[in-house]
């Protein structure tokens, strides 16, 4: 087919693009609010008991430039306010450590930009991604490549492999809530990640996908805002995920179950099990309830205060032994070219006495527009 179409065809094609059947681009917006529950009464030594409240605005553009080229742009802008645990302490010696919190006047802004380009040749997709994240005290640059081959209509449906790199710079701001080994200059953290995945068609109604990934982090891995923390400067982590999809034809519903196993050389092992039900109530209305269970073991050097000896130490609740449940619902309403999205989720964690374990609510509204 000749490629130099004249202006008539270009005019007709341009006009046709307004019809949903021909849309090649989608632009999306999401507003989310993430709100952590307050620290329980009486469990704060000093500082505020008001935890994080985060507002997030996200924009996404996905464009099919041609049969062979796709482009994606993601911009996220986050505003965070609220206090966070600085360290744990047990001043009343009751065996239940309380939290020493930072003040609630901390306000931080972060902007993330990611672009991706995909080249499709025959049945293989080559994707390059570049990313940049900026906040007052943190800068991260990342790059990644992914190669995916689709076999289609065979039992082994697809395989993909990828690599990504990130170079981060930490420069803690003039906060008083710093690590006792204050950073006197910028610190760096680099990471390299490799992964390999495959997808299979099990039978007429179900598919499964699995990915294995390896990540190595090197550099300043301690939290500069946790007073007592001293963490190793190398970490190696592995993750294995399985995603299973089953289509319930008569109910016009798709069940999706994901399992993830994670382990690292800091001693943290975790399991995540997540299930979602994509239910088509009608042609334009979709309900997606979901449920997630998470459990992890503690890092080797995690301890609540009492004994801060040892080369490495952390009292960060995120490195403790805990479990968490979350449940949520997403509703999508579709008109000709616009999809409206609303969702909410509640997350609770428990499993030990650390008052830093967080419970939170998130709420999201958004819109997808195809053109």
């Amino acid at each position: 087919m000749k490629t130099n179409k004249n202006t008539v065809i270009l005019a007709l094609t341009s006009s046709a693009m307004a019809l949903p059947a021909y849309s090649n681009n989608t632009i999306s917006y999401r507003y989310s609010n993430y709100q952590e529950d307050d620290v329980p009464e009486g469990r704060v030594v000093t500082g505020s008991n008001k935890r994080y409240d985060i507002d997030i605005h996200q924009f996404r553009l996905l464009s099919e430039l041609s049969d062979n080229y796709k482009f994606g742009l993601d911009i996220a802008q986050e505003t965070l306010s609220g206090a966070s645990p600085w360290y744990t302490s047990d001043p009343d010696n009751d065996g239940n450590p309380d939290l020493v919190m930072s003040s609630a006047s901390i306000k931080d802004e972060r902007t993330d930009v990611n672009i991706s380009g995909t080249y499709i040749n025959d049945k293989t997709n080559y994707t390059l991604t570049l990313g940049s994240s900026t906040e007052d005290d943190y800068q991260a640059q990342s790059a990644g490549i992914d190669i995916a081959k689709n076999f289609r209509n065979r039992t082994l449906d697809s395989i993909n492999a990828g690599l990504s790199l990130s170079a981060d710079t930490i420069d803690p701001t003039n906060s008083i809530f710093l690590n006792q080994d204050r950073l006197t200059e910028e610190a760096e953290k680099d990471s390299l990640s490799l992964y390999l995945g495959a997808g299979w068609i099990i039978n007429k109604l179900s598919t499964i996908r699995s990915t294995l990934s390896y990540t190595k982090l090197e550099g300043y891995l301690t939290d500069p805002y946790k007073f007592l923390d001293r963490r190793p400067n190398i970490k190696t982590q592995w993750a294995w995920t399985v995603k299973y999809r089953y289509f319930l034809t008569k109910l016009s519903t798709a069940l999706q179950t994901n399992y993830r196993y994670y382990t690292d050389d800091w001693g943290v092992d975790s399991h995540t099990l997540e299930t979602s039900l994509y239910t088509n109530i009608s042609e334009s209305l979709k309900f997606i309830p979901s449920f997630r269970f998470y459990e992890q073991t503690a890092a080797d050097f995690y301890r609540l205060p009492g004994n801060t000896d040892g080369i490495f130490y952390s009292d960060d609740s995120r490195l403790s032994n805990f479990y968490a449940f979350s449940g949520g619902l997403t509703i999508k309403v579709k008109t000709d070219s616009i999809t409206y999205v609303i969702s909410g989720e509640r997350y609770v964690s428990d499993g030990n006495e650390h008052q830093g374990l967080v419970n939170y609510n998130t709420f999201t509204i958004g819109i997808d527009y195809s053109f």
Partner: protein, 291 residues
Amino acid sequence: MGSICQLKFYCHSKEIADRISQDAINEALRLESKYSRYLDNSITSQINRSSGNKNGVIVDEETTALLNYADTAYQQSNELFDITSGVLRKAWDFTSNNIPTKNNILTYLKLVGWHNIIWQAPKLILPYAGTEIDFGGYVKEYATDVLARIFLDSKLEFGLVSMGGDINVFGPHPDGKPWQIGIQDPRSEVKKAIAYINITKAALASSGDYERFMIVDEQRYCHIINPKTGWPIQNSFASVSVVAEQCLIAGTSATIAMLMEHNGKAWLENTGLDYLGINASNAITGTLSVN
């Protein structure tokens, strides 16, 4: 849609194939009930009932886009692609073997003219009573594309949608081989192909003087009527088939090529689209290679 519709595709699961076919069929039925001029509740009938009413009608997003497309096609075709020209079928009865009188033609011709329509999205006003619009000249090609999109969005990449000769091949056979599409012989009394075209992934639409016509005094008068003169086209292709990325574009181009009469071939060459033209003596021309 008044013609035979076919879905041919490959899928690893019968349940999924049944479900997606049903989605496609439902969508075809939706478009038919929305745009058919034969159905009282269709948008077309509602619009046409409002002709002469200064308040007009408010149309939805999909209809807005289709009307904007018709407007573009009107501008780009020297005003020959005109969705108000359907009333002229009331002057021309191809079963009668009678040529209408000049007055008969003029009665309807004065109701024709997209430039007389007031279109300010989403409001459409047909100021003169008796004016009609008809989506029939392009909604079938649009429907073909809509159905093809349903398959592609469901990740089914091998197959085609055919709506009475308007075809969208959304992917080859799984081994990469193209589909063989037959081009109707415009002068054969029985339905038979005069040539075959191989298509791997593209749309094809045809227009011709053989679907509805009459021959009076050895002169052929067909259903494609010039909206400026009120007379059926003369000195045009017997049939022309155009290949484009979208069936909508292919169909509009084929129709405009026919309406351009003796200028049709040059016009089509200029578009850069691949085509196959058959003249009254069944000679084949064009840029498409045939089997």
